[in-house]
Every structure is written in structure tokens, then in C-alpha cells.
């Protein structure tokens, strides 16, 4: 069989006329095909953070487990005061975990992270929410154990020895972490917490004499500051570089 050369082929093809489709028809075809284009799976941020914390930040889970074990050990084996134990130990897992929350910024990754689908603000806030929520569950668990197996926990004492120190120390550490490196902020906050805890354990009567209203005020103030800090993080105030 003799093959036609290019010129012959071109001449032969030129005998045929093919109508070019209208713009409208092209648009219709694209719109129809759109239904068949596979959609990109959306991975939810919280699921991502949970997985990341599970895989990367073993420190967070470990500190919470150690907290529970140490809390139960101090109270049930060591005969320690449950309120002072709560005062000293409850905020520790969150304070230590803040180092991981701000790790991206502290290790110079922020420039890169700002260009990612999940922004550093979203990531920090969702990590804080996950960490806070899990730690709260651990706290409630420990308080329930104390309540059931030792003495009845008084709400007013819980406010003085757990809620207020917990909120104040976390809001202080978070503020320091926003402004400075978390690796410095966390030990400073823990040192302040321990100094206060030791002082209060020595002067329990003076501490007990402080009116409940004062603690309610401190609680509200800490809550307000935490709200401001969340706003600061959302707006990116934790960036080290200036724009």
C-alpha cells in the first residue's frame, strides 16, 4: 500500500470542512464535564491538628498522663492536700504544651506557615482548643476521683485553688508566649506558679481569708485577658518579624 505524503494528506483533509463549535457550546461542554471532575477531599483542620498532636507532640499526652498519675499519687499515696495539688499541677500540661503550640514561630517556620492552607493563627488556636479541652477533661476526672474517694470538694475552694490559679497562670503564660519565645515563657510561668503555690501552702489561712468576690473578679479578668489573647493570635500578633 502506498502511503500519501504530508502534502497529499493536507490537500485531502482540506476537502472537508469542520464547523468550529460556538463559544456557547464550548461553555456548555465544560459545564457538563465539571460534574465528572473529582472533587478534592477537604481535610478538616481539627482532625489534622488532632492527628498532628497525636503523632508529633507526644509531650502533650505524656504531661497529661503524668499529671493524672502524679495527682492521684500525691493525694492517695503521699497524703497531700488535694487543693494544693490541684493548684500546683493542674496548669502544668497546658503550660508545657505551649512550647509546642508556638514551635513553628520559635523555629523560624512562620514565614513558610503563613503561606499554607491552614494559617498559623488557625493552627495555634485549634491546637490551644484541643489542648485546653483535653486538659479540662483530665482535670474533671481528677476532681471526680478526689470527690468520690477522699473528701467532698467545695465549689468555693475549687474556685480558689483550681479555677483561678489555672486561668491566671495560663493567660499569663499565653501572653508571654505571644510576646516572647514560648520556651522561656513556660518555665517562667511554672516558676511563678510554684512559688505562689508554696507560699500559699505555708499561709493557707491568709489565702482562705481572701473574699470569694475577689477570686470571681480575678477569674473574670483572666477570662477577659484570654479573650484578648485569642484575638491577638487571630490577628497574627505573635509574628516576630514586623511588617
Amino acid at each position: 500500500m502506498i502511503k500519501p505524503n504530508d502534502q497529499e494528506l493536507e490537500e485531502w483533509l482540506n476537502e472537508f470542512t469542520i464547523e468550529y463549535p460556538s463559544e456557547e457550546k464550548i461553555e456548555q461542554t465544560i459545564a457538563m464535564l465539571h460534574h465528572y471532575v473529582p472533587k478534592k477531599k477537604k481535610v478538616h483542620l481539627f482532625r489534622q491538628v488532632y492527628k498532628e498532636l497525636l503523632g508529633v507532640s507526644r509531650v502533650f499526652w505524656m504531661t497529661n498522663l503524668i499529671y493524672l498519675a502524679a495527682g492521684i499519687g500525691f493525694i492517695f499515696i503521699g497524703g497531700g492536700n488535694p487543693y494544693i495539688t490541684l493548684f500546683l499541677l493542674a496548669p502544668l500540661p497546658v503550660l508545657i504544651s505551649l512550647i509546642d503550640v508556638f514551635r513553628g514561630r520559635d523555629e523560624g517556620m512562620i514565614e513558610l506557615e503563613l503561606s499554607f492552607k491552614h494559617s498559623p493563627s488557625q493552627l495555634i488556636l485549634s491546637k490551644l482548643a484541643t489542648i485546653g479541652l483535653f486538659n479540662l477533661v483530665c482535670n474533671v476526672l481528677l476532681i471526680a476521683v478526689i470527690h468520690i474517694f477522699t473528701e467532698h470538694i467545695l465549689l468555693s475552694s475549687l474556685l480558689k485553688y483550681w479555677v483561678v490559679p489555672y486561668m491566671v497562670s495560663i493567660s499569663l503564660c499565653l501572653f508571654l508566649s505571644i510576646k516572647f519565645r514560648a520556651v522561656f515563657a513556660a518555665p517562667i510561668s511554672i516558676a511563678i506558679l510554684f512559688s505562689l503555690g508554696m507560699a500559699i501552702s505555708q499561709m493557707a489561712q491568709v489565702y482562705e481569708a481572701v473574699p470569694t468576690g475577689m477570686f470571681l473578679f480575678l477569674f473574670m479578668a483572666a477570662l477577659f485577658v484570654l479573650g484578648l489573647e485569642v484575638k491577638m493570635i487571630y490577628k497574627g500578633a505573635y509574628h516576630e518579624f514586623s511588617d
Partner: protein
């Protein structure tokens, strides 16, 4: 894909880092050429949404990138000039972490990481900690992370800094090969990075866009202004005082100077074909480092 910068200005106090720039990009490699402080990095950072313009809008397919938010960030890959890395992570773990932040599923990430580690030639060291990597290896892992989400817009700021010549060629070829279906914006002050791969070159100076044209058009601008002069070595200072002198090539007792000048620098001067290095010298004389004398 169309990316448009419309009257964008970025001010730091009273200083205009970027001053009323407008231009458009479609698929292909764009080289952004400028001396240090010309505004290249600021422009790249705005395109990567790391910082926002003081005035003006950046649009992708007609939509404001700031309104698109994470939908826009989902379509970009960014390699900053100075990349921070988690030093205790292995290359593999680092890329998995970045993939998670970019919203890739574990399965997608595993496949992509395998492909990219091979592409940037880091497969053998995937289990080694990033902290032990050389500058070039860190740069290559930076390139890999930028490509993880298969970006439609790739923004790379001085990507070849720290790469050896072989790696630079490899990187240029890589950019060239992936640019068919995406916009690649490459800022550099090394002209050879973009000489053969850029569809268009943007020349930035003091925050202003001087030109955005294809390399041939730009070179046409300085045609008839690049001269070769063979002279005695003792004459070099005199020529350097009077003209913009690029390459100096020494051969036995004479030297050959590459001079950029509107007028013939000497009777013996011969016109030569300009290249992008000459163009750079033409626009950024004060920042030009001719490099070592070639023998």
C-alpha cells in the same frame, strides 16, 4: 490561570518597598530581577499572602486573593528566601508535617513525598534529620515542600542561593519542566537562573517595575550598547572610572573588557551581542559584582 497585580503599593513607614506596581501573569516562568532592596522579596511575600499590600489588589482569575483566603493558599507553593526548618525532624517527617498543614490526606502526602524526594534527589537521606543537612540540601527540601500541594502558582524567592552549579542547573530544568501548567514566579539577582527559562523578565528597581518583557525584547533594548575592548591591564581602572565594565577576561599580556556604553568606548572597541548579565549591569550598575577575573 491568570494572576494580576493592580496598582500594588507596600509602605513601611515612609519607605515605599513597592511603589504602584501593575502587571499580569499567565502560565510560564517569570523571572523577577532586581538588586538587594529592590522590592523583590516584598512582592513575593505579598503574592504568598505573608504580608498584605498597603494599597492595590492582587487578583487570581479576577478574584481578590485576600478574599479567597485558604482557597488561594491552597493553590500556591512558596519558598521564602530564608526558610526555617524543624531541625529535629527527618526529611520525611518534615514533608509529612508540611503536607498536613497544606491539607493533604495521609495517602496523598505519602505518594507526593515519594515523588518529590526523588525529584530533589533526597531519597537516600529521607530518614536523616534536617538539622544535619547542608545548605543546598535544605534548599532542596524547601523546594520539595513548595511543590507538595501541586501548586498552580509557585513563588520562589532566591531559590538557587546555596545550591552548587550542578544543583542550580537541575533546579532550573525542574522549574522549566513544571511551568507548562502553572505560573512560576522566580526572584533572583543571578541572571543565569532565568536567562534560558523565563517567559518574561520583570526588572524591579527601588520598588518600581521598570520593565516586564520577554528576554529577547529586553536585550534588544541594549543592542548596540555592549562593547568588547582589548587593552593593557594598566588601563582597567581608567575604563572602570568612565564606563560600566562587566566581565574582564585576561589572556597573556592583554585583557578583554566587556563594556556597556551608549557610545563607542574606544576606537578599537567591537560591538558584541548583549546578554542578560549586561542588561543587569545596565540597570543596576551600583550593585553589580562582575565576579572574579577570568583567565
Amino acid at each position: 490561570m491568570n494572576l494580576a497585580i493592580e496598582h500594588v503599593t507596600k509602605k513601611y513607614g515612609n519607605h515605599h518597598a513597592i511603589d504602584d506596581i501593575s502587571c499580569e501573569f499567565s502560565n510560564g516562568v517569570y523571572g523577577i530581577l532586581g538588586a538587594n532592596g529592590s522590592g523583590k522579596t516584598t512582592l513575593m511575600r505579598m503574592l504568598a499572602t505573608v504580608t498584605t499590600p498597603t494599597a492595590g489588589i492582587i487578583r487570581v482569575n479576577g478574584k481578590n486573593i485576600l478574599s479567597l483566603g485558604d482557597d488561594y493558599r491552597d493553590m500556591i507553593g512558596y519558598l521564602p528566601q530564608h526558610i526555617g526548618l524543624y531541625k529535629n525532624f527527618t526529611a520525611d517527617k518534615f514533608l509529612h508535617y508540611i503536607a498536613a498543614l497544606k491539607g493533604l490526606s495521609k495517602k496523598e502526602a505519602a505518594l507526593k513525598i515519594e515523588e518529590l524526594l526523588d525529584l530533589v534527589n533526597l531519597m537516600d537521606v529521607r530518614k536523616k534529620k534536617v538539622g544535619t543537612f547542608s545548605g543546598g540540601m535544605k534548599q532542596r527540601i524547601g523546594i520539595a515542600q513548595a511543590l507538595l500541594n501541586d501548586p498552580k502558582i509557585l513563588i520562589v524567592d532566591e531559590p538557587t542561593a546555596g545550591l552548587d552549579p550542578k544543583e542550580r542547573i537541575r533546579f532550573r530544568n525542574l522549574l522549566s519542566s513544571i511551568s507548562g501548567e502553572r505560573i512560576v514566579l522566580l526572584s533572583t539577582h543571578i541572571v543565569s537562573d532565568i536567562e534560558f527559562i523565563a517567559k518574561e523578565v520583570l526588572i524591579l528597581k527601588n520598588g518600581r517595575l521598570l520593565h516586564k518583557r520577554n528576554p529577547q525584547e529586553l536585550l534588544h533594548e541594549i543592542a548596540g550598547k555592549v562593547w568588547l575592548v582589548t587593552t593593557a591591564e594598566s588601563e582597567i581602572p581608567r575604563y572602570q572610572d568612565m564606563f560600566k565594565v562587566g566581565n574582564i577576561v585576561r589572556s597573556e599580556s592583554r585583557v578583554e573588557l566587556r563594556i556597556i556604553s551608549d557610545d563607542r568606548p574606544s576606537l578599537a572597541a567591537i560591538l558584541t551581542t548583549p546578554n542578560l548579565e549586561d542588561l543587569y549591569l545596565y540597570f543596576f550598575e551600583e550593585d553589580f559584582d562582575a565576579g572574579p577575573v577570568k583567565v
